[in-house]
């Protein structure tokens, strides 16, 4: 920028600004501004009238200087926060001036004040075009800066095609190239769709070879952004970047002259090149690869050299390059020596004076720890990290230290790390306590060699930070203790000892209650922990606990009655007391009453079966890990499991049993409750009669030894009260039919549609809402914590159109969004589905619409599956939902008279054409609702056809591309028996079968 000469100082502007600065009050300032605005208006007015040729006497046209001065004043007033609604025209006039300063002010005004003002935009664009095509580099630069500063869509539309041309033209000045590259980068960021990719891309890559380092720096930024989008096109940039990097790294500090910053050669360019290289895997060409390794080594070597200057800028620039190099090394993850060296270098920084360096070192080490090459090297710094945890003043650095400890932990050092974390927990900052608790719990579980140690650790954890121990943690302890026979005795003993402390946390009481209830017998031999002592100890905590814990303790008591018949009397006494039997809380009261009855009536055999020890839990992903992931956001937790699966030789943690349903007992439900993802009980589970011995049917909602915070029970009070009636019946010994018990189980849980936890990939196809769509076309098909999928569909004859709405419920963007419809083999021929591709990104809180065109070729049974994939945070989410495209959607209703109906009914009398089903009503038998459902099903509801007015009769034709299938239906409700009889007659037996299945589910 040319220096402003003395005569160009705009004295008026300076005076105005100093006037404003000297104003004593806001009012005075506003007065001064009003005065100035009036002055400028009168000046511009004069100009306007004279330029229009209606010049009044005494008017003089404004010269460029005054115009510039006034526009400047307006700009200043605008920047002070006042509205400016004139002067745009004058500013645009300045653009066509030939003086640099005038043009500059004009562009400045436009960049700051431009809005999509239609008539001016055209003029501005024209002026910019002129400047771009001028040969004057300063003017071109000004124009490019203006485009980049405004960066609006309109600008992009107008100039996106020109700028690449300027960028790659051979005769463009270096400084213009620089600006053009950055301008293009800006436009690419704001409206990537408008920037055309073309032959210029290959030439842009060659800018990396440019003589001028400024151009190279600007081009690298541009290429990095473009390469992230289409890596293939810019692949050639890798070798060029490596070459350039090696030239910079090996150059002496004086070679680059202007681009040497405090003795570091071109630090910004180096950082950018290193970042560009992180877009690609390690180069395959051995020569390039060798050269790159050399560069990285040189950078690492330079870090070891004594600093050339004491200035902070020198070390900052040097470290910036170093850290970027280290992240490239980590990204490549292929050179063990480099990784180890990087790790050692970071180790030195761990004790550096600068807090920022320590933070960065810890953060980079976290990623290094997950690489198998450098994991051992990272481990050598354990003492330093632990020391950092203890002595660091800055909480964010301590947090990073915790992260690093978590990442570097393995079987060899787990005891030390967990002990240190527990130590630290006592003094830790409240904001990170919960996270540390989760980490300790996970590490202790994952690398536990000795389960007694594990039990000790967790009990310690509960003691130290009870309030921060979430449900998942203690659920997990119980799962593990129950699944491992060898620790049960030890656990019971330790828990018993821990409970003896005068004040213990409620979570400890819960764990204690559960474990003693199961395994109290293992320590009952010792007179110090005799059954009565155990009971008294637990009961002493009873009154201090919350309702869920008390409920759990009640379950423990009934278990005690089974384990130790000698304390039966004492416990019955406790249960019989008014505070239990007449407790205000329904749950506690019910448990007390039922347990008391159970203990009085049932024989010891029955008690022993009912209150048998818990079977082992099915293994699944640790629920704590899921919680940690949820807490930190997906992708934030370095996944130890994935990183070093091969090292995990812990047999005990491998799944014990994969099929939960084979062990169908009431305990399965309780086991499931221990996971954050409640199971969907929407289908009856097969209940084999052999497993019946486990089933204390009437008590089912109250699992005899289940963990008491039973969400299903508390959320669905009505089924449980229903069952209470059954429970009161003396049918304890005479077994009710198991099938009905299974049915009851289903009923209890059918209403329980809990959304899946985020971060856990959806394995099975979700079809909870499928049946709801049989009789309607619009609604919410699927919902979890991340996404909601809604449907809107319309069908005509054999064609249908479905609008799918994906709502992003989070505030972060979904990336790589894609969805497809999967048809099973036979369905492919029966149904033609065309899906329009959707946008790959869904913004936070936004909704995406996708259109699906469906054509029914012939009748079909299966439903297509909508499979949706997207990336949320770092993790890939997979959602598969059954699309409610059912045969009945292609119904066309047919009106007919009674006579017609019965005539056709008789025609379709072949046995395979009729399907009949008698079933129990699942919902209340409301006539209007039933009518609506039949109409929603697609057939015409025929009034006064059936002699019995309470029966429903319908008729319709199913249209497929190949055939049309007529269909008649008749639904006879029996209100007394709460039953329905559904009869369907169609010309095709498969159609009858399918329609009957669909419709019978609805009532």
């Amino acid at each position: 920028m040319p220096a402003v000469s003395k005569g160009d100082g705009m004295r008026g502007l300076a005076v105005f600004i100093s006037d404003i600065r000297n104003c004593k009050s806001k009012e005075a300032e506003i007065k001064r501004i009003n005065k100035e605005l009036a002055n400028i208006r009168s000046k511009f007015k004069g100009m306007l009238s004279s330029s229009q040729g209606t010049s009044l006497v005494g008017d003089k046209a404004l010269d460029g200087y005054s115009k510039k001065k006034y526009v400047c004043k307006l700009l200043f007033i605008f920047l002070l926060g006042h509205d400016i609604d004139f002067g745009h025209m004058e500013a645009v006039n300045l653009l066509s001036s030939n003086k640099y300063t005038e043009k500059q002010i004009g562009y400045l005004f436009i960049s700051v004040l431009v809005n999509s003002n239609s008539d001016l935009i055209r003029l501005i664009n024209n002026a910019i075009k002129n400047d771009l095509s001028s040969r004057n580099p300063t003017f071109m630069n000004l124009a490019l800066h203006c485009i980049a500063n405004v960066g609006s869509r309109e600008m992009a539309e107008a100039f996106a095609a020109d700028i690449p041309r300027i960028l790659v033209a051979g005769d463009t000045m270096d400084s213009v190239k620089q600006s053009a590259a950055l301008c293009l980068l800006r436009l690419n960021r704001t409206s990537p769709d408008l920037v055309p990719m073309g032959e210029w891309t290959s030439r842009v890559v060659h800018l990396l070879n440019d003589q001028h380092l400024g151009v190279v720096t600007a081009a690298t930024s541009l290429i990095t952004t473009l390469a992230q989008k289409n890596p293939e096109e810019f692949k050639t940039s890798v070798s060029l970047a490596v070459a350039r990097l090696s030239r910079i790294v090996t150059s002496a500090s004086t070679d680059l002259q202007d681009y040497t910053y405090y003795f570091v050669p071109a630090p910004w360019l180096s950082v950018k090149l290193l970042r560009l290289l992180q877009c690609y895997p390690p180069p395959e060409d051995a020569a390039i690869r060798g050269r790159l390794s050399e560069c990285l080594e040189t950078i690492l070597n330079k870090a070891q050299e004594p600093p050339k200057s004491k200035k902070v800028q020198h070390s900052n620039a040097k470290n910036a390059v170093l850290f970027e190099a280290i992240s490239l090394i980590i990204h490549h993850d292929s050179e063990p020596t480099l990784l180890v060296r990087a790790c050692n270098q970071l180790g030195q920084f761990l004790q550096h004076r600068e807090t920022n360096l320590r933070y960065l070192a810890l953060e980079s080490m976290c990623t290094l720890a997950s690489s198998e090459f450098s994991h051992e090297a990272v481990k050598t710094h354990i003492e330093t990290v632990i020391n950092a945890l203890k002595t660091e003043r800055d909480v964010s650095v301590r947090q990073r230290a915790v992260d690093l400890l978590y990442a570097m932990c393995d079987r060899s050092n787990v005891q030390q790390i967990v002990a240190e974390m527990l130590n630290y927990l006592e003094t830790a900052d409240y904001s990170i306590r919960e996270e540390i608790v989760l980490k300790v719990a996970i590490l202790a579980e994952k690398y536990a060699v000795d389960y007694t140690w594990y039990v000790d650790t967790i009990l310690n954890l509960i003691r130290i930070a009870g309030d921060y121990v979430s449900e998942e943690v203690w659920y997990r302890v119980i799962q593990i203790v129950i699944n491992r026979d060898d620790v049960q005795g030890y656990a019971a003993k330790t828990v018993f000892e821990a409970l003896q402390a005068p004040a213990c946390h409620e979570n400890l009481v819960k764990v204690g209650g559960y474990i003693l209830g199961e395994f109290g017998n293992l320590i009952a031999g010792d007179p110090r922990s005799s059954p009565l002592v155990q009971f008294n100890l637990l009961h002493s905590k009873f009154h201090l606990c919350s309702v869920p814990s008390r409920a759990l303790l009640l379950s423990t008591y009934i278990k005690f009655i089974n384990l130790f018949p000698e304390v039966k009397g004492t416990i019955q006494e406790v249960l019989r007391s008014d505070s239990q039997l007449r407790n205000a809380d329904v749950e506690l009261q019910q448990r007390a009453v039922e347990y008391l009855r159970l203990s009085c009536i049932a024989s010891t055999d029955i008690l022993a079966t009912v209150l048998e020890e818990m079977p082992p839990f099915p293994e699944r992903e640790s629920s704590i890990l899921a919680k940690l992931k949820r807490k930190k956001g997906p992708g934030m937790v370095p996944d130890i499991e994935e990183g070093r699966k091969d090292k995990n030789v812990n047999g005990g943690m491998e799944p014990i049993s994969t099929n939960a349903t084979t062990k169908t007992s009431s305990f399965v439900s309780t086991g499931d409750l221990l996971t954050p993802e409640p199971p969907r009980f929407n289908r009856p589970r097969p209940v084999s009669s052999s497993s019946f011995s486990f089933l204390p049917a009437p008590l089912m909602p109250l699992p005899p030894s289940g963990p008491p915070p039973d969400p299903t029970l508390q959320s669905t009070p009505s089924p449980s009260t229903d069952l209470l009636g059954l429970g009161g019946s003396p049918a304890l010994s005479s077994a009710p039919p198991s099938s009905s018990a299974g049915g009851l189980l289903v009923d209890v849980f059918t209403e329980n549609h809990a959304p899946a936890a985020p971060g856990v990939p959806m394995g099975p196809v979700a079809d909870d809402n499928f049946s709801r769509f049989v009789c309607k076309n619009n609604g919410v098909l699927f919902e979890n914590q991340l996404v909601q999928i809604g449907l809107k569909s319309e069908f005509r004859q054999n064609l249908g159109r479905m609008y799918i709405f994906y709502g992003n419920k989070t505030s972060t963007q979904f990336l790589n969004f894609s969805s497809s419809v999967i048809c099973q083999d036979s369905l492919k021929t029966q149904l033609n589905i065309h899906i329009k591709p959707a946008d790959p990104t869904v913004d936070g809180g936004a909704q995406l619409q996708q259109i699906l065109n469906i054509e029914c070729v012939s009748d079909f049974v299966e439903a297509p599956v909508l499979s949706t994939q997207f990336r949320y945070g770092g993790t890939l989410q997979n959602i598969a939902v059954k699309l409610p495209v059912t045969l009945n959607k292609f119904f066309q209703p047919t009106e007919m008279t009674s006579q017609d109906f019965f005539q056709r009914w008789k025609q379709l009398s072949a046995p395979q054409q009729e399907v009949q089903k008698i079933f129990k009503a699942k919902h209340s038998m409301d006539t209007e609702v039933t009518k609506a459902k039949i109409i929603g099903f697609g057939v015409a509801l025929l009034d006064r056809v059936d002699p019995n007015p309470s029966n429903f009769v319908g008729a319709g034709v199913i249209h497929t591309k190949t055939t049309q299938v007529g269909c008649l239906l008749r639904l006879e409700p029996n209100t007394q028996a709460q039953m329905y009889r559904l009869t369907l007659r169609t010309s095709r037996d498969t159609v009858s079968q399918r329609l009957c299945e669909l419709l019978s589910d609805q009532f």
Binding site: K24, S25, K26, K31, R32, N34, K35, L37, A38, N39, R41, S42, F44, K45, L48, G81, D85, F86, H88, N117, D119, L120
Partner: protein
Amino acid sequence: MIGGLFIYNHKGEVLISRVYRDDIGRNAVDAFRVNVIHARQQVRSPVTNIARTSFFHVKRSNIWLAAVTKQNVNAAMVFEFLYKMCDVMTAYFGKISEENIKNNFVLIYELLDEILDFGYPQNSETGALKTFITQQGIKSQEPYGCGTSHLQHQTKEEQSQITSQVTGQIGWRREGIKYRRNELFLDVLESVNLLMSPQGQVLSAHVSGRVVMKSYLSGMPECKFGMNDKIVIDKQGKGAATDDSAKSEMGGSSGKQSIAIDDCTFHQCVRLSKFDSERSISFIPPDGEYELMRYRTTKDIILPFRVIPLVREVGRTKLEVKVVIKSNFKPSLLAQKIEVRIPTPLNTSGVQVICMKGKAKYKASENAIVWKIKRMAGMKESQISAEIELLPTNDKKKWARPPISMNFEVPFAPSGLKVRYLKVFEPKLNYSDHDVIKWVRYIGRSGIYETRC
């Protein structure tokens, strides 16, 4: 109750900071500065609530006075106190300005200690305060030090009297005052507020008035004040004509017999019980100047001026304005300091004004044409016409046409209030009502006197 009191200069620097309660910390000082004085948008509400702390502020010239509290106080009480405090400070050292406050900060702290106790307002009567806070203020005009040397030296007896007087029944007057000439001045000060439609229809109008008295009377005189309050006049009209003489003397001259007062407040010296029962205003006056009563009327207001605007838009770039003002009072009276303010659009680029009387000028800094007339007799008429040139803007907003406002001063009470009598009785000393020299003056000023155009 008031937790603290701060005085800031226009820059937001704290000049005086007095904290009465622990719940107000230093951060409250900054909160007010950041959120009110330095706020991006001008704060118009006098009460601001920041972080569960209420700030009540008044502004005198460039000085901000802010009372701060965390409790739910009576806002009217706080403002009454703040105004009273301004009065007290004015009485001690003249105009409230940054310089005066800096020069008198010791005095101000002493005053604050006296008139607020643990946040509860105490006696803030200037006369009473002057008896025991005897420091004289430093007025900026005087050379430094001149005032302070003038300390009154009191005898022990006088000092003991102070206590009994401050704590006694009549806290506003000390005993043993003697004047050679017993004299009193009565000012009726009114401000008239008006909003009128362009067609001349009154949209709202009210008068708020004050009766201010300056008394130089010996001893402990008992005074009785009478005015043409409608209730009193009607009562007397029905009953025996006891005050016939007074009626013919004062109320007879005006065409209107009595006025309806909407609400009124009195100085603490007025015996309210007597006012409630007999509607007579009797009191023992403080010595010196004080405000006897405040009142408000809304009916039968005499509007001293009528403004007739005429605005014509000629195309997009020109505006013609013509304004006529008519004075509407007795021709023998003279209105003074007349100022008419005609707002101009924000894109005004030039103005030509022609007026028959006075001086008119376009003030760009205020976006208005200001027309000033020094004096104008009753039943007269004057006119101004202006041609406003506009700059076409790309802003499509229409000009909102703010109302034309007016300022003036007239020598009568626009509410029609008349003082009927003010009687003085001093049984112990030998002077009677007739020996007291009484002066009465009426001044009517404009409040917000606006006409839409």
